[in-house]
């Protein structure tokens, strides 16, 4: 949220140049580490929205077993919401982006050395689903499969 709390992991350099976390706004502007000297906080709403959309977050992805012919052996469900993670992990890494300390460090290094990539947008929490299916012997099985649904994404 950019409220400034819990943001003591190495942000002293930011403050030194005059931009506290609060001044970055709440995830409404594209502000990279290298941009810190020329930030415009009052961008157009459309641009701000576009930039916000590019941030790392969870996106919908529905897997339909019929599309891959698996409905012949999977009795239920017919499909499920798997979700996926996509987006950029740009500075500043807001709280809701679930950034690890390593991602913060990597983002900082990326800002001064482009050869180091930005942190990746990955699932930070996954949940299982139960499948009711027929095995190779025509026997019905109910099984819980872990890590099938993305619950949240982060950097």
């Amino acid at each position: 949220s950019g409220k400034g709390h819990n943001r003591d992991q190495g942000w002293g350099k930011t403050r030194k140049v005059g931009y506290s976390m609060k001044s970055w706004g709440d995830d409404k502007g594209e502000v990279s580490w290298s941009d810190r000297g020329r930030v415009k906080r009052n961008g157009s709403p459309a641009k701000l929205k576009r930039l916000s959309r590019g941030r790392c977050r969870r996106h919908p992805l529905h897997v339909d077993f019929r599309d891959v012919g698996w409905h012949k052996w999977i009795i239920a469900p017919s499909g499920y919401d798997a979700f996926f993670c996509l987006g950029e992990c740009r500075y500043p890494l807001a709280d809701h982006m679930n950034a690890s300390s390593h991602a913060v460090v990597q983002t900082m290094v990326n800002s001064v050395n482009g050869a180091v990539p930005r942190a990746c947008c990955v699932p930070t929490s996954l949940s299982p689903i139960a499948l009711l299916y027929l095995d190779n012997h025509d026997r019905v099985v109910l099984k819980n499969y872990q890590d099938m649904v993305v619950e949240s994404c982060g950097c």
Partner: protein, 301 residues
């Protein structure tokens, strides 16, 4: 990329374009790659290959109800006597169901209607899967009234039909009526020790039982007894049927699949969480009952 109903996802399933996003035409993987990916996924799911079941395989109602209860779809449960087996599922992440092996040919030569041998082939359980518990489920139907007086069901572990020394597993007194059961049928569930399953699993893969139903305190010989463990079978003179163990004449596959004995194993493959998380409340059917009563109970995942 399609999904309905989640208002928190503002782009309605559209993936924002990125420089690396392929065009729709280019997104189609070549068949070899698709096959490789599929094999990898099947392997992750614990399957050696994609199952290719025969069409219209009947699904036991118990497994469907288990799935629906697990998904908290209480309104879809069909068995009014369904009880979620929380004690079996506490540690298990896999439930497998087995129908018994039916002997070839007719059963008219089976004279002793009070004793029936049934066996199950458990060889399809993967070797790396640990069976934690199991239960044998037998259907009693309203049409199969017990007749006068109480009856007793004896369950033995028996290697084959002619096993001279079957091992008694459990004896149960059956009440003479199915009071309060509207559907007219009731499943008798017998909990089996995991050791039995492990021995069968590690051995021939076959597990056999001898079922015996006798009138309690009866001095009549088995041939004179009106009780029957074998269901209606072909013997029309046996009007008093107790357990659905043998198929009726002309009974179709689907109907028979919902009535025949069912062995259910609860196991864990060493990966992932059990079907019921610790701390989750699944005591009895209280949630289901509340849901059926139309309360505004909010469910949580």
């Amino acid at each position: 990329g399609r999904q309905g109903g989640e208002s928190s996802e503002p782009d309605n399933g559209r993936v924002p374009p990125t420089p690396s996003s392929p065009s729709p035409a280019a997104a189609l993987p070549d068949p070899g790659l698709a096959q490789t990916i599929q094999s990898l996924l099947l392997s992750r799911l614990g399957l050696q290959s994609q199952p290719n079941p025969r069409p219209d395989v009947p699904v036991p109602q118990y497994l469907l109800d288990l799935y629906r209860f697990h998904q908290q779809q209480y309104h879809l449960l069909e068995d009014p006597t369904f009880s979620f087996p929380s004690h079996h599922i506490q540690q298990a992440n896999t439930i497998r169901s087995f129908h018994h092996s039916e002997p070839f040919g007719d059963n008219t030569k089976v004279r002793d209607q009070t004793r029936v041998h049934i066996s199950f082939n458990l060889s399809s359980i993967p070797q790396d899967e640990t069976v934690l518990s199991a239960e044998l489920r037998l259907l009693r139907s309203q049409a199969a009234s017990l007749g006068p007086g109480p009856h007793r069901l004896n369950l033995y572990l028996s290697k084959h039909h002619e096993d001279p020394e079957p091992t008694m597993l459990e004896t149960r007194l059956l009440t003479s009526g199915l009071h309060g059961i509207k559907a007219g049928s009731f499943w008798e569930a017998f909990t089996l020790k995991p050791d039995l399953l492990r021995k069968a699993h590690g051995g021939t893969g076959s597990l056999g039982f001898l079922l015996e139903v006798r009138p309690e305190n009866s001095t009549a010989s088995p041939d004179q007894s009106s009780s029957s463990a074998a269901g209606d079978n072909q013997t029309e003179q046996h009007q008093e049927r107790h357990l659905r163990v043998c198929r009726s004449v002309g009974q179709d596959d689907h109907s028979w699949a919902q009535e025949r004995p069912l062995l259910v194993t609860y196991s864990h493959d060493g990966h992932g969480e059990p079907l019921v998380k610790h701390g989750r409340r699944t005591s009895g059917n209280s949630k289901w009952i509340k849901a059926r009563k139309g309360s505004n109970m909010k469910t949580k995942r």
